[in-house]
């Protein structure tokens, strides 16, 4: 320590490495779990037997398990590991509070475990990437607040005046994810693990995709860009190509990203001007995204010899390239004419996997290979094995995305193909499904390779840890940012209390803001929206009690994962499905169930298309009515008794959200249900099916037969008339 240092009041402190190690281990573990779940889902799409004929393992429940595990468990923990490591070093300060760090860690793992239990049980809101039910949503908000306070508190205590660009990306992540999560998760509970979104129909759709898009933007992109700007220069031992460009990248990105959400709803019943707005902002996003990608790649100028040798850099180069590919493709897909072909097909799946496998996955792997040897003060156990991981993973990615691109374009074109006589060339949807099955098999090969790569990484990291000596705290020194009276930390008893007190206003402000925000929104938004929910189509009526319960089964089984309920205004779709969907038809849909992928056909005009008995047989064994179908079997629906006790609570909950159920409707719910059940059982008899009226299948049939029939003129055959308010 020089005399100058003493004058500047140099402080000694310790970086917390334990929390980084914990998140790093969790990242590797959940990475393996999440990709295995994805592999299972991928295989189910060509081998329906893998649905195992149990409710817990059908595609509709495995798919959200996979997406949640990969996004929130794998990428989430990776993000925290990287942030906790880099933030301390960038701020020259230990994390603000060790307690908050560990609340963040264990809270996050508990949420993941809760998700892994509830999703297979069918406890889901059905809103993509926000499937978790309200108690878990509250926990997420709490843990996120802990993280945000910890982040901001560390910033306030930093010993480095300048905030490196990565920190800005972290701040944007913390703040924006909180706001998105709160707005999209607003729901009214109708039981311990059941709630209804406070938004209905098109409004719910818009909020969901405002969230969904920005979840990609601020959960999968901005934190990882922060990590890129920290770990890539560190690994290359080169300063970032242009620091100025990185600053522009950040500010341009966050100001544009938030407006792009509506591109997920092009050609749906969303108002046209909102669609165009989303499209324009999406196209604008190319500029900052590519600025960032080039900045990352050009950082390696003059260092490509290192890339040849160092697996860490190899992973990062591919990650940044994948970021560039995905962010060029995204705006392309957001162009309406492209979206008309790509939407609902595998193209979307290929797009997100370029991002997830390439950008998030490879950046995480590179970061872990760089981080673990440093945490353990050793060398990576095997560079060769890491190189194998790189090439196997890259091959896996290629085998994943290329076939799925082909599959997406193939199916999209087949849906739109007319023959010379003006009829649909492939009138039977199943034909288009069967055509792409070889591609799905190849995709599973790619997925398997990718998982093998992760296993190699786990072995390598474990061996690295075993060969080294973990350093729980790294000591560092820096002059204090603020001039403080010289006092040694340990000699003053009140010192720690004082430091703790410093952070209280921050904690308090964040908590109060959140509380006010949540409270205010829950109060105001429903009141406000109910007015605008007034049906524009007089024929559209609320669901009957039985249909409502049927709809809840539809949500529980995750049908929305494969079936859309949104006929777009194209000739190819109106020919195939019927009249295109109107905004006014969804005013009682809490939540909306438009879907985003058609592994099976759209169902919005499915009501009345087939007899009740067809649905009964189809659910018992889809192949019996549709030879070659890859839909899972749902035999339990035929045997399980419908839980009718909940119906009145659910109707009352929906009434509070503006669905016009009268007192009489609610009081007579059970009689109405019984009447409709009896009618369906009679219909089934006509179709040579004997069924008990109190089974779940009856409710599901009631719902499916109601779909899209309100505007067809005649009321649904089995529906009793509700009296209304």
């Amino acid at each position: 320590m020089t005399a100058r240092d003493r004058n500047m009041n140099v402080e000694t402190f310790r970086y917390d490495n334990r929390i980084v190690r914990a998140f790093a281990i969790a990242t590797a573990f959940w990475g393996l779990v999440g990709t295995l779940a994805g592999l299972l889902a991928a295989c189910q799409l060509f081998w329906p037997g893998l649905n195992l004929d149990t409710p817990f393992t059908t595609f509709g429940r495995i798919r959200p398990l996979h997406t949640n595990a990969v996004i929130f468990a794998f990428v989430g923990n990776g993000m925290f590991a990287g942030i906790y490591y880099s933030l301390q070093r960038l701020c020259k300060a230990r994390m603000f509070s060790d307690a908050l760090s560990w609340i963040n860690f264990w809270g996050w793992q508990a949420i993941i475990v809760a998700a892994a239990i509830t999703l297979p049980l069918g406890l889901t809101t059905s809103k993509e990437y926000a499937e978790l039910e309200w108690p878990i949503d509250l926990a997420i908000a709490g843990v996120w607040v802990a993280f945000t306070v910890n982040l901001l508190g560390t910033l306030l205590r930093r010993r480095e005046k300048h905030m490196y660009v990565a920190i800005w990306f972290y701040i944007a992540t913390a703040i924006t994810v909180a706001v998105l999560h709160i707005f999209n998760s607003l729901a009214l509970p109708a039981g311990a693990f059941k709630s209804y979104s406070i938004y209905a129909g098109v409004q719910d759709a818009l909020v969901q995709w405002w969230y969904g898009h920005n979840a990609v933007a601020f959960f999968l992109t901005t934190p990882y860009l922060g990590l890129m700007y920290y770990f890539l220069p560190k690994a290359a031992d080169r300063p970032v190509f242009s620091y100025r460009l990185s600053i522009i990248h950040f500010w341009a990105l966050i100001f544009i990203y938030i407006w792009a959400g509506p591109h997920h709803l092009l050609y749906t019943a969303l108002p046209d001007w909102v669609q165009s707005l989303g499209m324009v902002f999406s196209v604008m996003l190319v500029a900052p995204s590519w600025g960032g990608m080039l900045n990352g790649l050009l950082t390696l100028r003059g260092a490509w010899d290192k890339v040849r040798q160092d697996p860490v850099l190899k992973f990062m180069v591919v990650a940044v390239t994948a970021y560039g590919m995905a962010t060029l493709e995204g705006p392309t897909l957001a162009v309406k004419s492209v979206n008309a072909l790509s939407h609902y097909t595998d193209w979307t799946i290929a797009h997100v996997h370029t991002g997830a496998l390439g950008w998030n996955g490879f950046l995480t792997f590179g970061m872990l290979y760089w981080l673990l040897p440093r945490l353990y003060q050793t060398r990576l156990w095997s560079t060769k094995l890491a190189n194998y991981h790189f090439w196997i993973g890259l091959l896996g990615m290629m085998f994943y995305v290329v076939p799925i691109y082909v599959s997406g374009v193939t199916q999209g074109l087949m849906w739109k193909q007319f023959n010379a006589d003006g009829f649909l060339q492939y009138g039977n949807f199943l034909e288009t499904t069967l055509r792409i099955i070889p591609m799905h098999m190849l995709r599973a090969v790619g997925g398997t390779l990718y998982v093998v790569g992760i296993v190699l990484m786990c072995v390598n990291l474990y061996k690295t840890a075993r060969s080294g000596q973990f350093v729980p705290d790294t000591e560092a020194q820096a002059p204090a940012l603020r001039t403080q009276p010289t006092r040694p930390e340990k000699k003053v008893p009140g010192w720690h209390g004082h430091r703790w007190l410093e952070g209280v206003p921050v904690t308090f402000t964040v908590l109060v803001t959140l509380a006010i925000l949540v409270g205010g929104l829950v109060e105001i938004i429903p009141m406000y929206l109910i007015k605008s929910n007034v049906p524009t189509i007089a024929a559209v009526k609320p669901y009957t009690p039985l249909e409502l319960l049927g709809r809840d089964i539809y949500i529980r089984e995750g049908c929305v994962a494969c079936h859309s309920q949104m006929v777009r205004p194209f000739r190819s779709e109106t020919e195939r499905y019927g009249e295109y969907s109107k905004v006014g038809e969804f005013v009682y849909d809490h939540p909306f169930l438009w879907g985003s992928k058609r592994t099976g056909p759209d169902l919005h005009r499915g009501g009345g298309k087939y007899p009740d008995a067809w649905h009964y047989n189809h659910m018992e064994n889809p192949v019996s009515t549709s030879p070659g179908s890859i839909m899972p079997r749902y035999p339990w629906l035929l045997t399980r008794k419908l839980d009718t006790n909940v119906v009145q609570v659910r109707m009352k909950t929906l009434r509070r959200l503006g669905v016009p159920y009268s007192d009489q409707d609610i009081a007579q719910a059970h009689q109405q249900m019984a009447a409709q059940q009896t009618r369906i059982v009679q219909n089934l008899k006509v179709g040579m099916v004997e069924a008990e009226p109190d089974r779940e299948i009856i409710a599901l049939i009631a719902y499916l037969q109601r779909l899209g029939t309100d505007i067809k003129g005649s009321p649904a055959s089995t529906a009793p008339q509700l009296t209304g308010p």
């Binding site: 300048h162 409004q203 818009l206 100001f255 407006w259 697996p311 040897p373 060398r379």
Partner: protein, 58 residues
């Protein structure tokens, strides 16, 4: 479509917050130096203290 208004307000509030942060950052001189921050992160853990330097991966 009243929800459009809510979302626009929420988005504007976020954007407004970020704008304030940006203005603060500019005034605080966060962006005046566009050269050394990029170099600083490379040297921060190479402090001239006796410590075990982890070997780089080959």
């Amino acid at each position: 479509m009243a929800v459009v208004l809510i979302l626009i307000l929420a988005s504007l509030a976020l954007a407004g917050g970020f704008l304030l942060a940006f203005l603060w950052a500019v005034r605080a001189g966060q962006f005046e130096d566009a050269r050394t921050p990029a170099l600083r992160i490379l040297t921060e853990d190479k402090a001239p203290r006796p410590r075990q330097t982890p070997a780089r991966n080959g």
